[in-house]
């Protein structure tokens, strides 16, 4: 629809002015230097809603250049409406190529998932973060939670986990499971499933976290220790998919979406990472030949 003049003509390359991009990159460098530490930054208003990925978008736009290939996913899916919307915006104000193949991308912006294929040293994964503060649910005040981090006073969040075990027999956190970055800062990995959390540990790639509304940037640089919080006798557990496989590609080693077929009255599963699923099917077809 030719409603708008192309953004490229009315806005700076990659939307933000160069001064803003530079400032965001400076905050990002600091974040990389202190794994898991939340660096405050002057988050800009973006043309998408606060809480809809503005933090991730600002990171992407501050980093992206013509040589990049971009992949955007939401819930693991390239074709999810919000992923498409963000991808369209970046395309409209840059000249970058886009892809749905995680291995082809240099920059991946994601909400709620890490792709199944490990991130390489020449790739950056940018997360959209709603609540960057892992201590928020035990300490509502920013002023105080900053002190707790500075003093590494984490007994409050551990107590929360202990109480969970007392009450439920296990830790009841679903996604966004808190972890310790390089034995120093507890950080929120954004609402990725527990299944994805081990992918951050001693990884090759760079992981950047942007929280636009909360105005924080943090990072897990390559080869950082990432330890999910767990007691010695109540170890960390990922989601259970025993006996389940993707009904499209047959994978048994990927995070699965649970779907319900009303007509057939049965539950079935398929890969949440749609790019990975497609590749598996293509490989399967080649083998079939």
């Amino acid at each position: 629809m030719a409603m708008h003049t192309p953004l490229k003509q009315t806005y700076n390359y990659a939307f933000l002015d160069e001064g803003s991009k530079k400032e965001i990159r400076r905050a990002t460098l600091k974040a990389v230097a202190i794994p898991g530490y939340q660096v405050p930054f002057a988050s800009r208003e973006m043309p998408i809603g606060r809480g809809w990925g503005t933090g991730g978008l600002q990171l992407t736009l501050s980093l992206i250049g013509d040589g990049d290939t971009l992949k955007v996913i939401d819930q693991g899916n390239d074709d999810s409406v919000n992923a498409v919307s963000i991808k369209k915006l970046v395309q409209a104000c840059t000249n970058v190529a886009v892809t749905t193949d995680a291995e082809q991308a240099t920059l991946i912006q994601s909400r709620h998932r890490i792709p199944e294929v490990p991130i390489r040293a020449d790739q950056i994964l940018v997360f959209q973060v709603p609540i960057p503060e892992p201590l928020r649910f035990v300490e509502p005040k920013e002023k105080k939670s900053k002190h707790l981090h500075a003093e590494m006073d984490y007994s409050g969040i551990w107590l929360r986990l202990y109480e969970d075990i007392v009450k439920w027999g296990k830790i009841s956190i679903g996604a966004d499971y808190p972890a310790l970055a390089h034995k120093r800062y507890i950080f929120a990995p954004s609402p990725i499933p527990r299944y994805d959390l081990p992918k951050l540990h001693q990884a090759e790639g760079l992981f950047l976290f942007g929280a636009g509304r909360e105005k924080k940037i943090y990072a897990i640089p390559p080869y950082t220790d990432v330890e999910p919080l767990a007691f010695d006798d109540y170890p960390f557990e990922v989601e259970h998919f025993e006996g389940c496989s993707c009904r499209l590609c047959g994978s048994t080693d990927s995070f699965l979406d649970e779907l319900y077929d009303e007509a057939a009255g049965q539950t079935f599963y398929q890969c949440s990472d749609t790019g990975y699923c497609r590749k598996c099917r293509e490989r399967g077809a080649q083998h079939g030949k």
Partner: protein, 366 residues
């Protein structure tokens, strides 16, 4: 094929945009004129320029047209536009004491120098639907209004001199401390914020705050048990001149024109200063446009944030992190986004907990 998860996102978005256009224009004889919105939806435009922090009434009217009248969405459009604009120059400090006043009232003193001016307000108009507006002829109506207006109130011939501010009169009598010297102003659109934030950041955040949210919070602060009933020392609405330093000669300024603002100064209970003086505490509110309730709410909240107390409105994180329309709207509405992964993860935890609970019960039965 049975159920299909989100696919066809691209197509879906384009269809949604088209349907939006259809609903916006269906049954319309002619499209809304942006200028008509700007001139005749004055309070709506004022609200949008105030909440977006961009004094651009015509752009605000355009945003309102595009947003089909949703002020939160219009303020959001303007904010996003604003954040891409170059910052070329900083204006000199505006002196509201030099305001070209169109309205000015004081609830503290009956007789203020320069007198009270009721000006344009619906405060004392009965809220009865005026059905004659259905068939109104603008030029004829305007002419009739001008004929009925007393001569001294005719906006075309009104040349009032600036009025001294009530707060300045109180200061002259030693009832109010002099204003703080300005030092280290932050720019909330450019500088990162860390709590506790300086007063200049508080004022900026409140000045851009959501009218409804601020009114609700101010109302709560007036009703709770520690409440103090503030008195409006002065509410003034009018035009202030924006000037910048003339780059080619020192001590000279360039006028850029006028902007309309609402300024409110409230007086609260008195306090003992560090130096032992007992003086009134001032609350300060300033907004773009004529936004009187918001400006009063701002003055109340500003004063609450400057004093200690246990109620929510004394808590700067609680107030400042939740009064911004763009941020609050964005976060609440993000719940419309898919949360399949987080839900799946929670589902897994629930099933495990159910299993453990069942095992425990079995065990007890044996």
């Amino acid at each position: 094929m049975g159920y299909v998860a989100v696919t066809g996102g691209q197509q879906a978005i384009e269809t949604a945009n088209l349907l939006n256009q259809w609903y916006r224009l269906k049954d319309a004889d002619h499209a809304l004129e942006v200028t008509a919105i700007e001139k005749q939806m004055r309070h709506l435009v004022d609200r949008v320029i105030s909440e977006s922090g961009l004094y651009a009434p015509n752009d605000a009217a355009l945003a309102l047209k595009q947003a089909e009248g949703d002020p939160a969405e219009a303020a959001f459009l303007l904010r996003a536009y604003r954040s891409t604009l170059e910052r070329n120059v900083e204006s000199l400090t505006v002196d509201p004491g030099q305001m070209r006043v169109i309205r000015r009232i004081s609830s503290a003193f009956k007789d203020i120098p320069g007198s009270q001016i009721l000006g344009p307000t619906a405060d004392y108009t009965h809220r009865l639907l005026n059905f004659t507006l259905r068939n109104e002829e603008a030029q004829a109506a305007l002419k009739s209004v001008l004929q009925q207006l007393p001569k001294q109130d005719n906006p075309h011939t009104d040349h009032r001199q600036p009025f001294r501010k009530v707060a300045d009169l109180l200061r002259a009598q030693g009832l109010l401390s002099p204003p703080n010297a300005r030092n280290g102003l932050v720019d909330i659109t450019r500088d990162k914020l860390t709590f506790p934030v300086p007063r200049s950041a508080k004022l900026q955040l409140l000045s851009r705050g959501d009218t409804g949210a601020m009114t609700a919070l101010a109302c709560s602060s007036m009703r709770e048990h520690t409440a103090q009933h503030p008195t409006v020392a002065e509410l003034r609405v009018g035009y202030v001149e924006l000037t910048v330093a003339y780059p080619l000669a020192s001590n000279e300024t360039l006028s850029l024109g006028e902007v309309m603002v609402t300024e409110v100064e409230t007086i609260n209970s008195f306090t003992k200063k560090d130096n032992g003086d007992v003086q009134f505490q001032l609350g300060y509110g300033l907004t773009f446009g004529q936004n009187e309730t918001k400006a009063i709410a701002m003055a109340i909240l500003e004063q609450r944030l400057e004093t200690d107390g246990t109620s929510p409105t004394h808590d700067e994180e609680f107030v400042l992190l939740h009064v911004d329309s763009i941020e609050a709207n964005g976060f609440v509405s993000h719940l419309k986004l898919p949360h399949y992964i987080t839900f799946q993860s929670k589902l897994d935890v629930l099933r495990q907990a159910q299993k453990l609970a069942a095992e425990k019960t079995d065990h007890q039965e044996v």
